[in-house]
Symmetry: C2
Subunit: 234 residues, 2 copies
Amino acid sequence: MANTTRSRRERPAKPALSRQWIIAETLEIIRTEGLEKATMRRVAHALDTGPASLYVYIANTAELHSAVLDELLGALPPESEGTWSERLEALLRSYADVLFAYPGLARSALLIRPTGPNAVRLYDRVLGLLLEGEVAVDRAAWGLDLLLQYVTGNAAEHSTPSPGDIDTPADDEAEMGILARALHAADPTTTPHIAEHADLVLSGEPTQRVTWAIQALIAGIAATPTPVATDIRP
Amino acid sequence: MANTTRSRRERPAKPALSRQWIIAETLEIIRTEGLEKATMRRVAHALDTGPASLYVYIANTAELHSAVLDELLGALPPESEGTWSERLEALLRSYADVLFAYPGLARSALLIRPTGPNAVRLYDRVLGLLLEGEVAVDRAAWGLDLLLQYVTGNAAEHSTPSPGDIDTPADDEAEMGILARALHAADPTTTPHIAEHADLVLSGEPTQRVTWAIQALIAGIAATPTPVATDIRP
DNA sequence: ACCTGAACACCGTTCAAGT
DNA sequence: ACCTGAACACCGTTCAAGT
Protein backbone atom coordinates (compact mmCIF):
# COMPACT_ATOMS: atom_id res chain seq x y z
CA MET A 1 0.00 0.00 0.00
CA ALA A 2 1.02 3.68 -0.12
CA ASN A 3 2.82 3.46 -3.39
CA THR A 4 6.31 4.87 -3.64
CA THR A 5 6.55 7.88 -1.31
CA ARG A 6 9.64 6.32 0.14
CA SER A 7 12.87 7.40 1.69
CA ARG A 8 15.09 8.42 -1.25
CA ARG A 9 18.12 7.02 0.50
CA GLU A 10 16.78 3.52 0.14
CA ARG A 11 16.67 1.63 -3.11
CA PRO A 12 13.87 3.24 -5.15
CA ALA A 13 11.90 0.01 -5.03
CA LYS A 14 12.23 -1.56 -8.48
CA PRO A 15 12.32 1.48 -10.76
CA ALA A 16 11.40 -0.48 -13.87
CA LEU A 17 14.25 -2.12 -15.73
CA SER A 18 15.59 -0.32 -18.78
CA ARG A 19 18.77 -0.15 -20.79
CA GLN A 20 19.63 3.25 -19.31
CA TRP A 21 19.08 2.05 -15.78
CA ILE A 22 21.18 -1.03 -16.29
CA ILE A 23 24.05 1.04 -17.68
CA ALA A 24 23.82 3.53 -14.83
CA GLU A 25 23.87 0.80 -12.21
CA THR A 26 26.79 -0.91 -13.95
CA LEU A 27 28.73 2.35 -13.99
CA GLU A 28 28.12 2.73 -10.28
CA ILE A 29 29.46 -0.75 -9.59
CA ILE A 30 32.50 -0.15 -11.80
CA ARG A 31 33.13 3.12 -10.02
CA THR A 32 33.00 1.65 -6.55
CA GLU A 33 34.22 -1.89 -7.03
CA GLY A 34 35.92 -2.13 -10.38
CA LEU A 35 35.15 -3.66 -13.73
CA GLU A 36 35.63 -7.26 -12.66
CA LYS A 37 32.77 -6.91 -10.22
CA ALA A 38 30.46 -5.53 -12.87
CA THR A 39 29.19 -8.96 -13.86
CA MET A 40 25.78 -9.67 -15.27
CA ARG A 41 24.86 -11.49 -12.08
CA ARG A 42 26.03 -8.72 -9.81
CA VAL A 43 24.39 -5.95 -11.79
CA ALA A 44 21.17 -7.94 -11.84
CA HIS A 45 21.42 -8.45 -8.11
CA ALA A 46 21.92 -4.71 -7.57
CA LEU A 47 18.76 -4.14 -9.58
CA ASP A 48 16.81 -6.65 -7.52
CA THR A 49 16.34 -9.12 -10.29
CA GLY A 50 17.91 -12.22 -11.80
CA PRO A 51 20.60 -12.20 -14.47
CA ALA A 52 18.23 -13.46 -17.16
CA SER A 53 16.30 -10.20 -17.03
CA LEU A 54 19.27 -8.19 -18.28
CA TYR A 55 19.36 -10.16 -21.49
CA VAL A 56 16.12 -8.50 -22.51
CA TYR A 57 18.06 -5.26 -22.91
CA ILE A 58 21.70 -6.21 -23.34
CA ALA A 59 23.11 -8.91 -25.59
CA ASN A 60 26.06 -9.91 -23.42
CA THR A 61 28.74 -8.75 -21.04
CA ALA A 62 30.89 -7.20 -23.75
CA GLU A 63 28.02 -5.05 -24.94
CA LEU A 64 27.32 -3.95 -21.40
CA HIS A 65 30.88 -2.75 -20.88
CA SER A 66 30.91 -1.18 -24.32
CA ALA A 67 27.79 0.82 -23.56
CA VAL A 68 29.23 2.04 -20.27
CA LEU A 69 32.38 3.25 -22.00
CA ASP A 70 30.48 5.20 -24.60
CA GLU A 71 28.44 6.77 -21.84
CA LEU A 72 31.66 7.98 -20.23
CA LEU A 73 33.07 9.28 -23.50
CA GLY A 74 30.04 11.54 -23.75
CA ALA A 75 31.35 13.48 -20.77
CA LEU A 76 34.76 14.43 -22.18
CA PRO A 77 35.51 18.14 -21.75
CA PRO A 78 34.48 19.96 -24.92
CA GLU A 79 37.34 22.23 -25.93
CA SER A 80 40.49 23.73 -24.48
CA GLU A 81 42.71 26.68 -25.35
CA GLY A 82 46.03 26.86 -27.11
CA THR A 83 47.66 25.63 -30.28
CA TRP A 84 46.27 22.64 -32.11
CA SER A 85 48.86 20.35 -30.58
CA GLU A 86 48.23 21.64 -27.07
CA ARG A 87 44.52 21.05 -27.55
CA LEU A 88 45.17 17.61 -28.98
CA GLU A 89 47.37 16.73 -26.02
CA ALA A 90 44.70 18.00 -23.63
CA LEU A 91 42.01 15.99 -25.37
CA LEU A 92 44.03 12.80 -25.31
CA ARG A 93 44.91 13.35 -21.69
CA SER A 94 41.25 13.80 -20.77
CA TYR A 95 40.50 10.56 -22.58
CA ALA A 96 43.32 8.91 -20.67
CA ASP A 97 41.91 10.34 -17.44
CA VAL A 98 38.58 8.68 -18.05
CA LEU A 99 40.27 5.35 -18.59
CA PHE A 100 42.41 5.80 -15.49
CA ALA A 101 39.43 6.83 -13.41
CA TYR A 102 37.69 3.58 -14.25
CA PRO A 103 40.40 0.98 -14.01
CA GLY A 104 39.69 -2.00 -16.15
CA LEU A 105 37.60 -0.16 -18.69
CA ALA A 106 40.70 0.57 -20.71
CA ARG A 107 41.20 -3.14 -21.14
CA SER A 108 37.69 -3.40 -22.49
CA ALA A 109 38.26 -0.44 -24.79
CA LEU A 110 41.31 -2.15 -26.23
CA LEU A 111 39.39 -5.26 -27.13
CA ILE A 112 36.03 -3.99 -28.25
CA ARG A 113 37.07 -0.95 -30.33
CA PRO A 114 34.55 1.64 -29.16
CA THR A 115 32.10 2.39 -31.94
CA GLY A 116 29.34 4.25 -30.11
CA PRO A 117 28.33 7.77 -31.10
CA ASN A 118 30.50 9.40 -28.46
CA ALA A 119 33.53 7.39 -29.53
CA VAL A 120 33.06 8.54 -33.12
CA ARG A 121 32.86 12.12 -31.90
CA LEU A 122 36.19 11.63 -30.14
CA TYR A 123 37.72 10.24 -33.33
CA ASP A 124 36.42 13.24 -35.20
CA ARG A 125 37.94 15.71 -32.77
CA VAL A 126 41.34 14.03 -32.90
CA LEU A 127 41.29 13.87 -36.68
CA GLY A 128 40.13 17.48 -36.91
CA LEU A 129 42.98 18.69 -34.72
CA LEU A 130 45.58 16.81 -36.73
CA LEU A 131 44.23 18.34 -39.92
CA GLU A 132 44.19 21.76 -38.29
CA GLY A 133 47.89 21.20 -37.63
CA GLU A 134 48.33 20.64 -41.36
CA VAL A 135 49.29 17.04 -40.95
CA ALA A 136 48.82 15.33 -44.32
CA VAL A 137 45.38 13.79 -44.45
CA ASP A 138 46.58 10.22 -44.97
CA ARG A 139 49.01 10.45 -42.07
CA ALA A 140 46.33 12.02 -39.90
CA ALA A 141 43.88 9.26 -40.79
CA TRP A 142 46.31 6.52 -39.83
CA GLY A 143 47.70 8.47 -36.91
CA LEU A 144 44.27 8.69 -35.35
CA ASP A 145 44.33 4.99 -34.64
CA LEU A 146 47.91 5.09 -33.42
CA LEU A 147 47.23 7.88 -30.93
CA LEU A 148 44.08 6.40 -29.48
CA GLN A 149 45.57 2.97 -29.28
CA TYR A 150 48.58 4.22 -27.44
CA VAL A 151 46.51 6.05 -24.87
CA THR A 152 44.16 3.12 -24.43
CA GLY A 153 46.94 0.58 -24.23
CA ASN A 154 48.87 2.69 -21.79
CA ALA A 155 45.87 3.05 -19.51
CA ALA A 156 45.19 -0.67 -19.76
CA GLU A 157 48.74 -1.45 -18.81
CA HIS A 158 48.73 0.81 -15.79
CA SER A 159 45.22 0.25 -14.55
CA THR A 160 45.08 -2.08 -11.59
CA PRO A 161 43.53 -5.48 -12.38
CA SER A 162 41.31 -5.52 -9.31
CA PRO A 163 40.59 -2.04 -7.95
CA GLY A 164 38.89 -1.96 -4.58
CA ASP A 165 39.49 -5.60 -4.17
CA ILE A 166 41.27 -8.35 -2.32
CA ASP A 167 44.63 -8.52 -4.04
CA THR A 168 46.80 -5.69 -5.33
CA PRO A 169 47.45 -3.51 -2.24
CA ALA A 170 49.20 -0.88 -4.36
CA ASP A 171 49.10 -2.71 -7.58
CA ASP A 172 50.74 -0.57 -10.19
CA GLU A 173 53.46 0.28 -7.72
CA ALA A 174 54.00 -3.38 -6.96
CA GLU A 175 54.08 -4.10 -10.67
CA MET A 176 56.71 -1.44 -11.16
CA GLY A 177 58.67 -2.93 -8.32
CA ILE A 178 58.75 -6.27 -10.07
CA LEU A 179 59.85 -4.67 -13.31
CA ALA A 180 62.44 -2.56 -11.53
CA ARG A 181 63.84 -5.59 -9.81
CA ALA A 182 63.98 -7.52 -13.06
CA LEU A 183 65.80 -4.71 -14.84
CA HIS A 184 68.22 -4.00 -12.03
CA ALA A 185 69.04 -7.67 -11.85
CA ALA A 186 69.85 -7.71 -15.57
CA ASP A 187 73.01 -9.59 -16.42
CA PRO A 188 75.62 -7.15 -17.84
CA THR A 189 76.95 -9.88 -20.10
CA THR A 190 73.79 -11.01 -21.86
CA THR A 191 71.83 -7.77 -21.52
CA PRO A 192 74.42 -4.99 -21.37
CA HIS A 193 72.26 -2.07 -22.44
CA ILE A 194 69.53 -2.76 -19.92
CA ALA A 195 72.12 -3.35 -17.22
CA GLU A 196 73.68 0.01 -17.94
CA HIS A 197 70.54 2.07 -18.42
CA ALA A 198 68.01 0.41 -16.12
CA ASP A 199 67.51 3.59 -14.12
CA LEU A 200 66.89 5.64 -17.22
CA VAL A 201 64.41 3.11 -18.56
CA LEU A 202 62.53 3.31 -15.27
CA SER A 203 62.85 7.08 -14.87
CA GLY A 204 60.14 9.70 -15.04
CA GLU A 205 56.68 10.23 -13.64
CA PRO A 206 53.85 8.49 -15.49
CA THR A 207 52.34 11.82 -16.55
CA GLN A 208 55.69 13.04 -17.87
CA ARG A 209 56.04 9.89 -19.88
CA VAL A 210 52.55 10.05 -21.31
CA THR A 211 53.08 13.66 -22.30
CA TRP A 212 56.36 12.81 -23.95
CA ALA A 213 54.86 9.80 -25.71
CA ILE A 214 51.99 11.84 -27.13
CA GLN A 215 54.44 14.46 -28.42
CA ALA A 216 56.63 11.78 -29.94
CA LEU A 217 53.61 10.17 -31.58
CA ILE A 218 52.40 13.44 -33.07
CA ALA A 219 55.89 14.24 -34.37
CA GLY A 220 56.28 10.79 -35.86
CA ILE A 221 52.83 10.81 -37.45
CA ALA A 222 53.42 14.20 -39.04
CA ALA A 223 56.81 13.19 -40.40
CA THR A 224 56.25 9.67 -41.72
CA PRO A 225 54.82 9.12 -45.21
CA THR A 226 52.23 6.39 -45.65
CA PRO A 227 52.04 4.05 -48.63
CA VAL A 228 48.54 5.42 -49.30
CA ALA A 229 48.35 7.75 -52.28
CA THR A 230 47.91 11.31 -51.09
CA ASP A 231 46.63 12.60 -54.41
CA ILE A 232 43.14 11.40 -53.58
CA ARG A 233 41.85 14.91 -53.47
CA PRO A 234 41.83 17.00 -56.69
CA MET B 1 61.45 -32.86 -22.61
CA ALA B 2 61.88 -35.78 -20.18
CA ASN B 3 62.61 -38.48 -22.73
CA THR B 4 60.25 -41.30 -21.95
CA THR B 5 60.51 -43.79 -24.79
CA ARG B 6 56.81 -43.89 -25.56
CA SER B 7 54.59 -43.43 -28.53
CA ARG B 8 54.87 -39.69 -29.02
CA ARG B 9 51.35 -39.46 -30.36
CA GLU B 10 49.66 -40.82 -27.25
CA ARG B 11 49.54 -39.20 -23.87
CA PRO B 12 52.75 -40.19 -22.07
CA ALA B 13 50.77 -41.61 -19.15
CA LYS B 14 51.31 -39.29 -16.21
CA PRO B 15 54.82 -38.04 -16.86
CA ALA B 16 55.30 -36.62 -13.37
CA LEU B 17 54.03 -33.13 -12.77
CA SER B 18 56.53 -30.29 -13.03
CA ARG B 19 56.55 -26.60 -13.78
CA GLN B 20 58.01 -27.21 -17.24
CA TRP B 21 55.40 -29.80 -18.06
CA ILE B 22 52.57 -27.61 -16.93
CA ILE B 23 53.82 -24.73 -19.05
CA ALA B 24 54.27 -26.97 -22.09
CA GLU B 25 50.77 -28.39 -21.75
CA THR B 26 49.32 -24.91 -21.28
CA LEU B 27 51.08 -23.72 -24.42
CA GLU B 28 49.60 -26.62 -26.33
CA ILE B 29 46.09 -25.73 -25.16
CA ILE B 30 46.60 -22.07 -26.00
CA ARG B 31 47.88 -23.05 -29.43
CA THR B 32 44.93 -25.26 -30.24
CA GLU B 33 42.06 -23.70 -28.35
CA GLY B 34 43.05 -20.21 -27.30
CA LEU B 35 43.99 -18.48 -24.10
CA GLU B 36 40.53 -18.46 -22.60
CA LYS B 37 40.55 -22.26 -22.59
CA ALA B 38 43.89 -22.40 -20.82
CA THR B 39 42.31 -22.40 -17.39
CA MET B 40 43.79 -24.02 -14.33
CA ARG B 41 41.06 -26.63 -14.36
CA ARG B 42 41.46 -27.44 -18.02
CA VAL B 43 45.23 -27.66 -17.87
CA ALA B 44 44.95 -29.87 -14.83
CA HIS B 45 42.46 -32.07 -16.65
CA ALA B 46 44.80 -32.36 -19.63
CA LEU B 47 47.50 -33.48 -17.23
CA ASP B 48 45.21 -36.08 -15.67
CA THR B 49 45.01 -34.44 -12.30
CA GLY B 50 42.92 -32.00 -10.32
CA PRO B 51 43.38 -28.24 -10.34
CA ALA B 52 44.74 -28.16 -6.82
CA SER B 53 47.85 -29.99 -7.97
CA LEU B 54 48.94 -27.13 -10.20
CA TYR B 55 49.15 -24.81 -7.22
CA VAL B 56 52.16 -26.75 -6.01
CA TYR B 57 54.11 -25.32 -8.95
CA ILE B 58 52.28 -22.20 -10.05
CA ALA B 59 50.93 -19.43 -7.85
CA ASN B 60 47.92 -18.49 -9.94
CA THR B 61 46.50 -18.12 -13.41
CA ALA B 62 48.34 -14.87 -14.13
CA GLU B 63 51.68 -16.47 -13.34
CA LEU B 64 50.85 -19.40 -15.57
CA HIS B 65 50.15 -17.16 -18.55
CA SER B 66 53.15 -15.05 -17.75
CA ALA B 67 55.43 -18.07 -17.76
CA VAL B 68 54.04 -19.24 -21.09
CA LEU B 69 54.71 -15.86 -22.66
CA ASP B 70 58.29 -15.77 -21.51
CA GLU B 71 58.74 -19.27 -22.91
CA LEU B 72 57.60 -18.00 -26.30
CA LEU B 73 59.83 -14.95 -26.17
CA GLY B 74 62.78 -17.29 -25.85
CA ALA B 75 62.15 -18.43 -29.41
CA LEU B 76 62.35 -15.04 -31.13
CA PRO B 77 64.64 -15.11 -34.17
CA PRO B 78 68.10 -13.99 -33.11
CA GLU B 79 69.31 -11.44 -35.61
CA SER B 80 68.49 -10.15 -39.05
CA GLU B 81 70.34 -8.21 -41.70
CA GLY B 82 70.20 -4.57 -42.67
CA THR B 83 70.39 -1.16 -41.09
CA TRP B 84 69.65 -0.72 -37.41
CA SER B 85 66.12 0.46 -38.14
CA GLU B 86 65.44 -2.42 -40.50
CA ARG B 87 66.63 -4.85 -37.87
CA LEU B 88 64.56 -3.09 -35.23
CA GLU B 89 61.49 -3.28 -37.42
CA ALA B 90 62.14 -6.95 -38.07
CA LEU B 91 62.56 -7.67 -34.37
CA LEU B 92 59.37 -5.87 -33.43
CA ARG B 93 57.50 -7.62 -36.19
CA SER B 94 58.70 -11.00 -34.99
CA TYR B 95 57.50 -10.07 -31.51
CA ALA B 96 54.18 -9.04 -33.02
CA ASP B 97 54.04 -12.34 -34.90
CA VAL B 98 54.34 -14.28 -31.68
CA LEU B 99 51.50 -12.34 -30.15
CA PHE B 100 49.38 -12.78 -33.27
CA ALA B 101 50.14 -16.47 -33.44
CA TYR B 102 48.79 -16.93 -29.93
CA PRO B 103 45.71 -14.78 -29.86
CA GLY B 104 44.87 -13.67 -26.39
CA LEU B 105 48.40 -13.77 -25.09
CA ALA B 106 48.88 -10.18 -26.18
CA ARG B 107 46.16 -9.17 -23.79
CA SER B 108 47.99 -10.91 -21.00
CA ALA B 109 51.24 -9.25 -22.00
CA LEU B 110 49.58 -5.88 -21.79
CA LEU B 111 48.45 -6.44 -18.24
CA ILE B 112 51.27 -8.37 -16.66
CA ARG B 113 54.29 -6.52 -18.08
CA PRO B 114 56.55 -9.41 -19.01
CA THR B 115 59.51 -9.54 -16.67
CA GLY B 116 60.96 -12.97 -17.34
CA PRO B 117 64.53 -13.44 -18.54
CA ASN B 118 63.54 -13.67 -22.20
CA ALA B 119 61.47 -10.51 -21.98
CA VAL B 120 64.44 -8.65 -20.54
CA ARG B 121 66.56 -9.93 -23.41
CA LEU B 122 64.01 -8.52 -25.85
CA TYR B 123 64.13 -5.15 -24.09
CA ASP B 124 67.88 -5.21 -24.33
CA ARG B 125 67.86 -5.89 -28.05
CA VAL B 126 65.40 -3.09 -28.74
CA LEU B 127 67.35 -0.65 -26.60
CA GLY B 128 70.62 -1.72 -28.18
CA LEU B 129 69.29 -1.13 -31.68
CA LEU B 130 68.01 2.33 -30.81
CA LEU B 131 71.40 3.24 -29.36
CA GLU B 132 73.10 1.81 -32.41
CA GLY B 133 70.93 4.23 -34.40
CA GLU B 134 72.38 7.03 -32.31
CA VAL B 135 69.08 7.84 -30.71
CA ALA B 136 69.79 9.85 -27.55
CA VAL B 137 69.97 7.49 -24.61
CA ASP B 138 67.12 9.09 -22.66
CA ARG B 139 64.82 9.01 -25.69
CA ALA B 140 65.83 5.42 -26.42
CA ALA B 141 65.13 4.43 -22.82
CA TRP B 142 61.64 5.90 -22.87
CA GLY B 143 61.03 4.87 -26.45
CA LEU B 144 61.61 1.24 -25.56
CA ASP B 145 58.41 1.18 -23.57
CA LEU B 146 56.51 3.07 -26.24
CA LEU B 147 57.51 0.68 -29.00
CA LEU B 148 56.77 -2.50 -27.11
CA GLN B 149 53.53 -1.17 -25.79
CA TYR B 150 52.37 -0.22 -29.23
CA VAL B 151 53.12 -3.63 -30.65
CA THR B 152 51.55 -5.39 -27.71
CA GLY B 153 48.48 -3.18 -27.68
CA ASN B 154 48.04 -3.52 -31.41
CA ALA B 155 48.19 -7.30 -31.21
CA ALA B 156 45.76 -7.29 -28.31
CA GLU B 157 43.35 -5.14 -30.24
CA HIS B 158 43.42 -7.32 -33.31
CA SER B 159 43.63 -10.72 -31.71
CA THR B 160 40.32 -12.52 -31.66
CA PRO B 161 38.78 -12.88 -28.20
CA SER B 162 37.96 -16.58 -28.62
CA PRO B 163 40.10 -18.30 -31.24
CA GLY B 164 38.92 -21.76 -32.22
CA ASP B 165 35.72 -21.28 -30.38
CA ILE B 166 31.97 -20.88 -30.50
CA ASP B 167 31.56 -17.18 -31.22
CA THR B 168 33.54 -14.96 -33.57
CA PRO B 169 33.34 -16.66 -36.97
CA ALA B 170 35.83 -14.17 -38.47
CA ASP B 171 36.16 -11.98 -35.50
CA ASP B 172 38.59 -9.26 -36.40
CA GLU B 173 36.88 -8.91 -39.73
CA ALA B 174 33.50 -8.63 -38.06
CA GLU B 175 34.95 -6.08 -35.66
CA MET B 176 36.25 -4.07 -38.58
CA GLY B 177 32.85 -4.29 -40.19
CA ILE B 178 31.24 -2.77 -37.14
CA LEU B 179 33.83 0.00 -37.06
CA ALA B 180 33.48 0.58 -40.80
CA ARG B 181 29.72 0.82 -40.50
CA ALA B 182 30.00 3.22 -37.57
CA LEU B 183 32.42 5.48 -39.44
CA HIS B 184 30.54 5.43 -42.72
CA ALA B 185 27.35 6.29 -40.88
CA ALA B 186 29.05 9.30 -39.29
CA ASP B 187 26.92 12.43 -39.34
CA PRO B 188 28.58 15.07 -41.58
CA THR B 189 27.24 17.82 -39.33
CA THR B 190 28.53 16.69 -35.96
CA THR B 191 31.52 14.66 -37.18
CA PRO B 192 32.55 16.25 -40.48
CA HIS B 193 36.13 15.03 -40.62
CA ILE B 194 35.26 11.41 -40.05
CA ALA B 195 32.38 11.67 -42.50
CA GLU B 196 34.73 12.98 -45.15
CA HIS B 197 37.72 10.73 -44.52
CA ALA B 198 36.14 7.50 -43.31
CA ASP B 199 37.64 5.49 -46.15
CA LEU B 200 41.11 6.83 -45.52
CA VAL B 201 40.84 6.08 -41.81
CA LEU B 202 39.90 2.51 -42.66
CA SER B 203 42.40 2.10 -45.50
CA GLY B 204 45.49 -0.09 -45.64
CA GLU B 205 46.40 -3.64 -44.83
CA PRO B 206 47.16 -4.43 -41.19
CA THR B 207 50.80 -5.19 -41.98
CA GLN B 208 51.18 -1.92 -43.90
CA ARG B 209 49.78 -0.05 -40.97
CA VAL B 210 51.97 -1.77 -38.41
CA THR B 211 55.03 -1.08 -40.52
CA TRP B 212 54.08 2.56 -40.88
CA ALA B 213 53.32 2.86 -37.16
CA ILE B 214 56.69 1.42 -36.18
CA GLN B 215 58.45 3.83 -38.53
CA ALA B 216 56.46 6.74 -37.16
CA LEU B 217 57.25 5.68 -33.61
CA ILE B 218 60.96 5.43 -34.28
CA ALA B 219 60.99 8.82 -35.99
CA GLY B 220 59.04 10.42 -33.16
CA ILE B 221 61.19 8.85 -30.46
CA ALA B 222 64.40 10.00 -32.11
CA ALA B 223 63.12 13.55 -32.59
CA THR B 224 61.38 14.32 -29.31
CA PRO B 225 63.37 15.58 -26.32
CA THR B 226 62.51 14.14 -22.89
CA PRO B 227 62.44 16.15 -19.68
CA VAL B 228 65.13 13.84 -18.33
CA ALA B 229 68.55 15.41 -18.15
CA THR B 230 70.78 13.95 -20.82
CA ASP B 231 74.01 15.02 -19.19
CA ILE B 232 73.97 11.95 -16.95
CA ARG B 233 76.99 10.57 -18.67
CA PRO B 234 80.32 12.42 -18.32
C1' DA C 1 56.87 -34.41 1.68
C1' DC C 2 54.11 -34.35 -1.86
C1' DC C 3 49.73 -34.53 -3.81
C1' DT C 4 44.58 -34.06 -4.33
C1' DG C 5 39.14 -34.74 -3.45
C1' DA C 6 35.91 -32.03 -2.36
C1' DA C 7 34.16 -27.84 -1.25
C1' DC C 8 33.41 -22.69 -1.37
C1' DA C 9 32.16 -18.93 -3.79
C1' DC C 10 31.57 -17.42 -7.77
C1' DC C 11 30.82 -16.85 -13.39
C1' DG C 12 27.78 -16.22 -18.50
C1' DT C 13 24.01 -17.66 -20.82
C1' DT C 14 19.71 -20.13 -22.00
C1' DC C 15 15.00 -21.48 -21.91
C1' DA C 16 10.76 -23.25 -20.24
C1' DA C 17 7.51 -21.47 -17.53
C1' DG C 18 5.00 -17.94 -15.28
C1' DT C 19 2.33 -13.26 -14.97
C1' DA D 1 4.38 -9.22 -24.18
C1' DC D 2 7.39 -9.01 -20.82
C1' DC D 3 9.96 -11.02 -17.32
C1' DT D 4 12.49 -14.63 -14.54
C1' DG D 5 13.51 -19.26 -11.67
C1' DA D 6 16.18 -22.65 -12.26
C1' DA D 7 19.39 -25.06 -14.62
C1' DC D 8 23.65 -26.03 -17.47
C1' DA D 9 28.26 -25.78 -17.92
C1' DC D 10 31.77 -23.75 -16.47
C1' DC D 11 35.50 -20.74 -13.41
C1' DG D 12 39.85 -19.80 -9.41
C1' DT D 13 41.41 -21.03 -5.20
C1' DT D 14 41.77 -23.29 -0.63
C1' DC D 15 42.46 -26.80 2.73
C1' DA D 16 41.78 -30.90 5.26
C1' DA D 17 42.89 -35.28 4.44
C1' DG D 18 45.26 -38.94 2.27
C1' DT D 19 49.65 -41.58 0.50
